[in-house]
Structures are given as structure tokens and as C-alpha cells.
């Protein structure tokens, strides 16, 4: 009996043991790396100065009458200046100078660079900046709902990257080496080798089923060796 179990444990693991090694390595990476660090929270400066409300001459009533149907209206700041950000009734995002009520143009390259430098916590220079405004240029790490964005890459071995919305000037997402590596670890952990998003794939199902069987055989062997060392169950 125990001989047969040992044989099945060995042969099953000969086929799928490598995946156990992969699960162990990727799992260890994901639990040891702080998720907030992975999400690049340390890359972006958080402490903002309060909004200069006394400079807000253009009121929300003004905004409401000039842009009826505006929704998700927020008073926020762009480079320390008070601005309104909202979604117009034609679903486009708008940015308005809260001092004058003037409609602000899309964030240009120079502004994007300024925003990036202003919010970046380190002093690295900027390695590249480019506008991504259509699906064909979309990198896999960016969701299409964020378009159009300025991609600003800093000159650092871990390639920290800010994605700055051209509509709002907000940093909509960021990436660095450890996040990108985390995504690969996740892919290998859930065994989805095409797009890395689908836990419900048949390959994982097959290997996890066989793996459970192999682990149960292993548990039997451990039980036998640790708790029944004197029984002679050769067959």
C-alpha cells in the first residue's frame, strides 16, 4: 500500500512538481513584497497644499448654468492652482480654471513633464515622454479607459513610469519594475499564460487537481513516517 502511494507521489510530482516550485516562488514573492510598494505608492508625492478656496471666483452655480448636465464635478488642484474637473453631458472630461471659469486646454507635453517632476518622490531625470491616445499604442499595463494619457518614464534602472491623463492632469496609474514583475508572478501563479487575467482556465484546473492528489499521497507518506514509524506496511 505505502509502496504504491510512494510510487504515485513520485510519478505525479515528476510531471507537475515544477509547478509546485513555481507556485512556491511566485507565492513567496507576492507575500513578501508589500502591496502598497508594488502599486508604486512610494513613487508619488501625496502631501498636497490645501486648495486656495478664497481664489475660487467661479462658483459651482456658474458652472452649473454654463454646463448643464455636468456631473462628477470636483474642485481640485492642477499644479497648485484650483481647477474644476467634471464630465460634460457629451461624456467628455473638462477642466476649468476655478479662478476665471476659463476652459483649460488638454494637458500638453510641457505641463505633463512639470506634473511628473512635481509629484515624483525621487530626483531622477525623465528618460522619455510620449502621448498615447489610441488603442493601437496601448501598452498592456494600461487600461483603455484612461486614454488619452502622457506616458512619462523616469531615468532609473527600475523604469518608474507615470501615466498622466491628458484630460485631467491626474496621474491615473503608475508602474515600475517590481509591479511588472508582480504581474508576471501572478500569471505564473494562476497558470494563465496568454493574457494573465483568467483564473478560470482549464490548465490550472488540471494541474491543481493532479496536484491535490499528489499532495494527499504525500500527506499519507508523512503520516506513515512520522506517526507510524514501526508499522511494517510494505505492501
Amino acid at each position: 500500500m505505502i509502496r504504491t502511494i510512494r510510487k504515485y507521489h513520485k510519478w505525479l510530482m515528476a510531471f507537475i512538481g515544477v509547478q509546485f516550485l513555481i507556485w512556491s516562488i511566485t507565492g513567496l514573492y507576492m507575500v513578501t513584497m508589500d502591496i502598497h510598494y508594488i502599486h508604486g505608492e512610494s513613487l508619488q508625492r501625496q502631501n498636497q497644499h490645501p486648495i486656495a478656496v478664497n481664489q475660487v471666483n467661479y462658483s459651482l452655480s456658474d458652472l452649473h448654468s454654463e454646463y448643464p448636465g455636468a456631473h462628477q464635478v470636483t474642485l481640485t488642484q492642477l499644479m497648485a492652482e484650483p481647477v474644476y474637473h467634471f464630465i460634460d453631458k457629451d461624456h467628455t472630461q473638462r477642466l476649468i480654471d476655478a479662478k476665471t471659469g476659463q476652459l483649460l486646454p488638454l494637458i500638453d507635453k510641457l505641463q505633463a513633464l512639470k506634473i511628473a517632476k512635481h509629484q515624483y518622490t525621487s530626483g531622477d531625470a525623465i528618460a522619455s515622454v510620449q502621448l498615447i491616445d489610441n488603442q493601437s499604442q496601448l501598452p498592456s499595463e494600461l487600461a483603455s479607459r484612461h486614454l488619452p494619457v502622457w506616458q512619462v518614464v523616469f531615468d532609473n534602472v527600475w523604469a518608474p513610469t507615470f501615466y498622466i491623463s491628458q484630460n485631467s492632469g491626474d496621474i491615473v496609474t503608475k508602474r515600475h519594475f517590481f509591479w511588472r514583475l508582480f504581474d508576471w508572478m501572478w500569471r505564473f501563479h494562476i497558470m494563465d499564460y496568454d493574457d494573465g487575467e483568467n483564473v478560470a482556465n482549464w490548465f490550472l484546473l488540471l494541474i491543481a487537481l493532479l496536484g491535490t492528489l499528489a499532495a494527499l499521497f504525500g500527506a499519507t507518506l508523512t503520516y506513515q513516517r512520522v506517526f507510524k514509524p514501526n508499522s511494517q506496511g510494505a505492501n
Binding site: 509502496r3 516550485l21 512556491s24 507565492g27 502591496i35 459651482l60 452649473h64 491535490t212 507518506l221 506513515q224
Partner: protein, 344 residues
């Protein structure tokens, strides 16, 4: 050296074995689960908050008194406008916030009160239900351990025991937690070993177990490589036969056997009806399956670890650590001795 590897494999499996099986079982659950149901959102529907028109002018922010703000949002709650003034907040919405709500028509301080919470909860639910209770909970909140802000919990009378959680700073529905969602959350707790309710997976217990599991996998792979080198992980498509003369000491009998090659002598003899004593089942750790071979037969690490020098010099070896092809004549003292099946 190799004895240490096996010993480590055994003790590590004892340490992490149960959790490893939990990881596999919960992993299978995530693979097979209905994600829509598991999210708890099966009965969730959006709540319309925004009104088309203003009933009165919105008070200018300049005319209001409030603490320094990093953001002011025009927040609609069930058709009424408020200024949601955020003084302090983290990157994620679940992190602790300092927020003031002011009525945008009157400038009065406002809160998401129980009446609003109850109405929002009912509106967010597909189908008709009754409310069992509504309570404003302070963090930590058992069913949403990550959240650091006070939340309204509205218990509904539906068959899935839905609790609607509503942000007390905004009136937004944070989650519908029903029995499907509770099952999913339990699975996450088990998979992340979050037995102390941190709400995440970056804690010392899982890190410790992850290190032990990596060592378990590494010792396992090392063991497999060792077995492969010993010729016991080969695909014996071309099954050769090895003719072996077996002298059975207990029965004082001699047999000429033809055993398959590419398997261990222990397994080969068992297949022929000669069961050697063993309690590790061929792992090379108990030292019971010894047989006497030609003294020149190569010694493996397991032989050296389990047998005395004098036994080794006399030609004793562990049958599970040698292939059938390595020997031509052996002496055995078997535990049971069935009639050999393949007499020449």
C-alpha cells in the same frame, strides 16, 4: 547530505502540509467559482443620486467656513447636493479619511443619517426586501477588514442574508455582502492565511509558510533529480528483463527470477511476490529492505546512512536504492513470500 534532504522534506511537509492542501483546495475553488456571484453583486443595481435641476443656487464655497481641503466634490445624495470636503485621505478609498459634508443649498453641516442609509440600501437592491436593522459601524468591520472608515451596515431580509455597506462619508454603496460573498471571503482568508484578520496577504505567518513551502518544493525537486539519476524515473518503453538468482534465507529456497529493468530491486521483488520489510515504502529512509549483493555493488548515500560499515562490506544494500539491472545474485530475508509469479 541526501539524508538531510529527505529528512527536511518530511518535516517541512509536516509543518506546511495541511496549509498546502488548503491552498490547493481554495485554488481549485477560485478556478471553478462563479465570479459574479462570489462578488456579492448579483442583486446590486446602481442608485440614481444626481438630480437634473437645481432647486436653489448652490452656495459659493468662498462664503462657507471649513478646514483646509485637498478636494471638494459636488456630491449628490438621492437628488440633494452636498459639498463633500476632503481634508485628509489615502490613495485607496478604503483608507482612513477626514471628510466634512455641507448642504450645498444651506451650508449646514450634514451627515449620511440612518434614513438616507436605509433608502440607499433598498434602492441598491434588485427585488423587494425588508430591512432587519441599520447600524453605523466603526472600524474594524468584521466583514470588510480592510476598511478604515465608519460604514452603515443595513441588514436585509433576503434569502442570501445580504448586508449592504454604505460609506458614511458619501452615501456610496461599498459592498453587498451575502452568503456567496461570505464563502468567497472565507476562501480568501484561507488562501491568504489571514487568520488574524489583517485583510491582506503581507503578514509574517504567510511569509514564514511561503519560505517553508519553497524549501519543501526544492527538497522535493532535489529528490526527484536524485531518483532520476538513480535510473528510477525512466520511461521503460523498451522493457528489458534482468535474470536474478534469489536465495531466500528464511525459507532456504533459491529462485531464478526475471525482473523488469528500470525499476528498483525492491519494487521488482515485490512484483515477483517477494515482499521485503519496509515502513517507508521505498524511500530509502527506514533501512529495513536490506539485501545482500556482490560486495562490489556501488554504495548509495542511503546505503551508507542506514547500514553499518560491516554490513556494507559484506555486500548488504537497500533494495529500494538499487535497480534490478545492478545485480545478478542476491540473498534476501523476506517478510512474506508468495509463490514467485514469473518462474523461468
Amino acid at each position: 547530505m541526501f539524508k538531510l534532504n529527505k529528512s527536511l522534506h518530511k518535516w517541512l511537509s509536516l509543518l506546511v502540509g495541511l496549509q498546502l492542501i488548503i491552498w490547493l483546495a481554495t485554488g481549485l475553488y477560485f478556478n471553478l467559482m462563479d465570479h459574479k456571484k462570489g462578488s456579492g453583486n448579483a442583486n446590486l443595481r446602481p442608485v440614481a443620486h444626481t438630480a437634473g435641476n437645481l432647486n436653489a443656487p448652490l452656495l459659493p464655497l468662498k462664503s462657507l467656513e471649513f478646514a483646509p481641503a485637498k478636494q471638494v466634490k459636488l456630491l449628490w445624495v438621492l437628488g440633494h447636493p452636498y459639498y463633500q470636503i476632503t481634508h485628509q485621505s489615502g490613495i485607496h478609498s478604503y483608507q482612513a479619511k477626514q471628510v466634512t459634508l455641507l448642504d450645498a443649498y444651506t451650508g449646514q453641516k450634514a451627515t449620511i443619517n440612518e434614513t438616507l442609509a436605509r433608502t440607499i440600501a433598498l434602492k441598491s437592491f434588485k427585488g423587494s426586501v425588508n430591512i432587519i436593522s441599520a447600524n453605523l459601524l466603526q472600524p474594524p468591520i468584521a466583514e470588510l477588514p480592510k476598511h478604515e472608515n465608519p460604514l452603515w451596515q443595513v441588514k436585509l431580509s433576503d434569502t442570501e442574508n445580504t448586508n449592504v455597506y454604505i460609506d458614511s462619508n458619501s452615501g456610496r454603496v461599498i459592498a453587498h455582502i451575502n452568503d456567496d460573498r461570505r464563502l468567497r471571503d472565507l476562501m480568501f482568508t484561507l488562501h491568504f492565511m489571514d487568520y488574524f484578520g489583517t485583510g491582506g496577504f503581507n503578514h509574517w505567518l504567510i511569509i514564514l509558510f511561503a519560505i517553508a513551502t519553497l524549501l519543501l518544493s526544492m527538497t522535493g525537486v532535489t529528490w526527484l533529480i536524485e531518483r532520476f539519476k538513480a535510473g528510477q524515473l525512466s520511461f521503460a518503453f523498451k522493457s528489458n528483463k534482468q535474470r536474478i538468482k534469489v536465495i531466500e534465507l528464511a525459507q532456504q529456497q533459491t529462485h531464478e527470477l526475471e525482473l523488469k529493468t528500470g525499476i528498483s530491486l525492491f519494487d521488482g521483488l515485490a512484483a515477483a511476490g517477494i515482499a521485503l520489510p519496509s515502513n517507508c515504502g521505498g524511500g530509502g529512509t527506514c533501512g529495513l529492505c536490506k539485501v545482500r549483493c556482490n560486495e562490489n555493488t556501488q554504495m548509495t548515500d542511503a546505503d551508507k546512512a542506514n547500514l553499518s560499515n560491516s554490513k556494507l562490506e559484506q555486500g548488504y544494500r537497500l533494495a529500494c536504492q538499487h535497480n534490478t539491472a545492478e545485480v545478478t545474485e542476491i540473498e534476501v530475508r523476506s517478510r512474506t513470500f508468495n509463490k514467485p509469479k514469473n518462474k523461468p
